[in-house]
């Protein structure tokens, strides 16, 4: 049946041609439609992701000529991608180390965006009032030196609380995480033994305990297992109404974790914040400061290769640290203190392209 097969071939050829034409037409449209739109790509930390997505959608409504996408692939990935210039901005919970900065081809700026905190949560039946911990006690629990809930050191911080005669089970994050980095950074500041034996990092070698994946994994294991203690992000603990501990800060007062106490920790450290804004604010001074707090950063090149993109990026960052901060509280992030906003403004104004500042 050569005739019918010829017809079939003709139909197939026609279909293919029209598909090709359609594809060409589509790509042509896209090219024409987005010619005036600047597209920015960002990637990095998962912790601020809910806030950044909110920012991108709000900023997109205000400014139709810029389209920004953010992938929450983790701080490690954010640092790698900004070093390799595969994204326009990176994001990281911990500031980049000197070695990492050297690996980048040009100067990278750290723009703090908001603050987060790490809280201690636990599962103890029969204990109503929030537990209180002094720094040495926390370190000893996570070092495995305090093995029982009715240990004298825990009792000393919590007079009158009926602590059970039971083993302490420690739960920590198993995935590499900025939350672990902030928590271990705090522990190494308050405990020389922790500094010597464990140190600080996103995946430390924990002396004791079981690992849960993500905030939800840690929370799940704590909720399901009696006599456990672990750490999660403040935002996660608030949204899930977990019991949280008061922690003794360096001024000696027991502080309840709250957004105000976190912003206070940052405000107290403004004077001691270095010029490049890379700073750890764990164990901050100040009567109202919550001691396990940290900044999260957006990472950008000081010298932008593309002036239009660089301008869009600088404008977005400016909006983020001013108008954007309004959205922080609802999502349980602590806004930047005024002193740091001023310092971040100067950083954003120092972004250049071809040596010329982009925001003046």
């Amino acid at each position: 049946m050569p005739v019918s097969s010829n017809i079939k071939r003709g139909v197939v050829a026609l279909l293919l041609t029209s598909l090709l034409l359609l594809a060409a037409a589509c790509s042509g449209n896209q090219g024409g439609g987005t010619a005036g739109v600047v597209r920015l790509q960002g990637a990095g930390a998962t912790f601020p992701n809910p806030l950044y997505q909110k920012w991108l959608s709000e900023y997109g409504k205000l400014n139709q000529s810029v389209r920004i996408d953010y992938q929450s692939i983790g701080s490690g990935g954010g640092i790698k991608q900004i070093q390799e210039q595969t994204v326009d901005f990176g994001a990281s919970d911990a500031p980049m180390k000197d070695d990492d900065l050297k690996k980048a081809s040009a100067d990278i700026l750290h723009i703090p965006t908001v603050l987060g905190a790490v809280v201690l949560t636990y599962n103890l039946s029969g204990v109503q009032q929030p537990l209180r911990f002094s720094p040495e006690t926390i370190a000893d629990i996570f070092l495995g030196k305090i093995k029982r809930w009715d240990d004298d050191k825990i009792k000393a911080d919590n007079p009158g609380v009926a602590l059970p005669n039971a083993d302490v089970t420690v739960v920590h994050r198993s995935d590499g995480s900025g939350t672990s980095a902030v928590f271990t950074d705090y522990l190494q500041k308050v405990s020389p033994e922790w500094k010597e034996k464990v140190g600080t990092g996103t995946s430390p070698q924990w002396p004791v305990g079981i690992g849960g994946k993500g905030n939800e994994g840690v929370t799940g294991q704590i909720k399901q297992t009696p006599n456990t203690i672990g750490y999660v992000e403040l935002a996660y603990a608030v949204q899930n109404k977990l019991p949280v501990s008061f922690i003794k800060n360096s001024s000696g007062s027991f502080i309840e974790p709250s957004l105000d106490a976190v912003t206070a920790a940052a405000a107290e450290s403004v004077q001691t914040t270095p010029e490049d804004l890379r700073v750890s604010i764990t164990n901050a001074a100040g009567a109202q400061a919550y001691p396990i707090s940290s900044y999260t950063y957006i990472l950008v090149y000081k010298e932008q290769r593309d002036a239009a993109k660089g301008k869009a990026l600088a404008d977005f960052l400016w909006w983020a640290i001013h108008d954007g901060e309004k959205f922080a509280r609802d999502l349980q992030y602590a806004p930047l203190p005024a002193g740091i906003v001023k310092r971040a403004e100067a950083k954003i104004n120092s972004i250049t392209s071809g040596g010329k500042p982009l925001r003046q």
Binding site: T202, I210, K213, Q221, Q224
Partner: protein
């Protein structure tokens, strides 16, 4: 295509082409010399080569990216028991141990269970009940592993902690396997959740394998006066190689499983005699730590551990194939799954 079915009638153009070129590519690729067969064979060959090329590229890429760690630790990486990213000390032994032992626990539980399900569905259950039950079992295979993981934390781990692990500790506590603190999170729970995940796969394949055993075998056994149990044994012997194939398939899934295991295994790189203690698997540590690893040596060590997973899978599959071969040497495998 109608033209392909017709016997070949050499057209002038074809004959010209054959003379012009010194060889006929159609004849090279198919015995009949038909264009359709040649194209068909090319497509098949292409699919096979593509898979081989992907495997080769994966091995090359992993070897290249783990060069730093290979150079730094050498064979010590396999024996090392420390995993400390802060100090840059890496050893894979606890992860290999956790992967192998959790998979073995899974098989010990899942294989008898799956065989029971499959035998019931094929040999015993009335047809009207068999279909819906088989459907429900296979439905388990479609549940995403992260759902298994969360279910593991919230339902399975507390259940094992309250009901199963104290029981094991009480009656089998003289074995080092069942000593230690009971938290519900650990190697045992990891093995149990894997068992639940691989049971639908093994039972579905075994069911097909059993169904493929000719009815005449059963009739012959029954005619000789065999009981139902004896008949089933005849069927199982005939299906042995297929059943082994099903088990290997399940094992493959167990070794590579990530999310569900990491939720309940406790993620602690240690080698402990007790199954109640937390442990860690290779797939879990890669999933957990890859995103936040920045140092070159750290990344390199994570890639090398991926390479080891490749090797472990390869070796275990090899051992399993050997087992199948030794078991089925005497019997003539009438039904095969792989």
């Amino acid at each position: 295509m109608a033209t392909n079915i017709e016997p070949k009638r050499p057209s002038p153009a074809d004959e010209y082409g054959a003379r012009a070129r010194s060889f006929n590519w159609r004849r090279m690729l198919s015995a009949t010399g038909s264009t359709g067969d040649a194209v068909f064979r090319l497509i098949l060959l292409g699919s096979v080569l593509l898979i081989l090329a992907i495997i080769a590229m994966m091995i090359y890429q992993m070897a290249a990216n783990s060069a730093l760690s290979l150079k730094q630790f050498g064979f010590g990486f396999l024996k090392g028991r420390t995993w400390n990213p802060i100090r840059g000390e890496f050893g894979a032994l606890p992860f290999i141990y956790g992967t192998v032992v959790s998979s073995i626990i899974a098989l010990i539980i899942a294989v008898p269970l799956s065989l029971g399900i499959a035998i019931f569905l094929v040999e015993q259950a009335p047809r009207r009940a068999a279909r819906p039950i088989a459907f429900l079992v296979e439905l388990l295979a479609a549940i995403p592993s992260v759902v298994y993981g969360l279910w593991g934390i919230f339902v399975l781990a507390p259940f094992l902690r309250v009901h199963v692990e104290p029981f094991l500790a009480r009656w089998l506590g003289w074995l080092p396997l069942f000593q230690g603190t009971i938290t519900g999170i650990g190697l045992f729970t990891g093995g149990v959740i894997l068992a639940i995940m691989i049971t639908p796969i093994i039972s579905a394949v075994v069911r097909d394998v059993l169904a493929a055993v000719p009815v005449s075998q059963r009739e012959a056994a029954l005619a000789l006066g065999a009981t139902k149990w004896e008949t089933t044994r005849v069927v199982l012997a005939n299906a042995a190689s297929g059943i082994a194939g099903a088990i290997i398939l399940g094992l493959g899934r167990a070794i590579g499983e990530t999310m569900a295991v990491t939720m309940v295994i406790g993620n602690r790189p240690q080698i402990s005699a007790s199954l109640f203690e937390p442990s860690y698997t290779i797939a879990s540590v890669i999933a957990n730590e890859f995103t936040e690893a920045t140092e070159d040596l750290y990344l390199s060590a994570l890639v090398e551990i991926g390479l080891i997973l490749f090797l472990v899978t390869f070796i275990i599959n090899g051992i399993a194939k050997l087992l199948v071969w030794s078991v089925t040497r005497g019997t003539s495998g009438t039904a095969r799954a792989t």
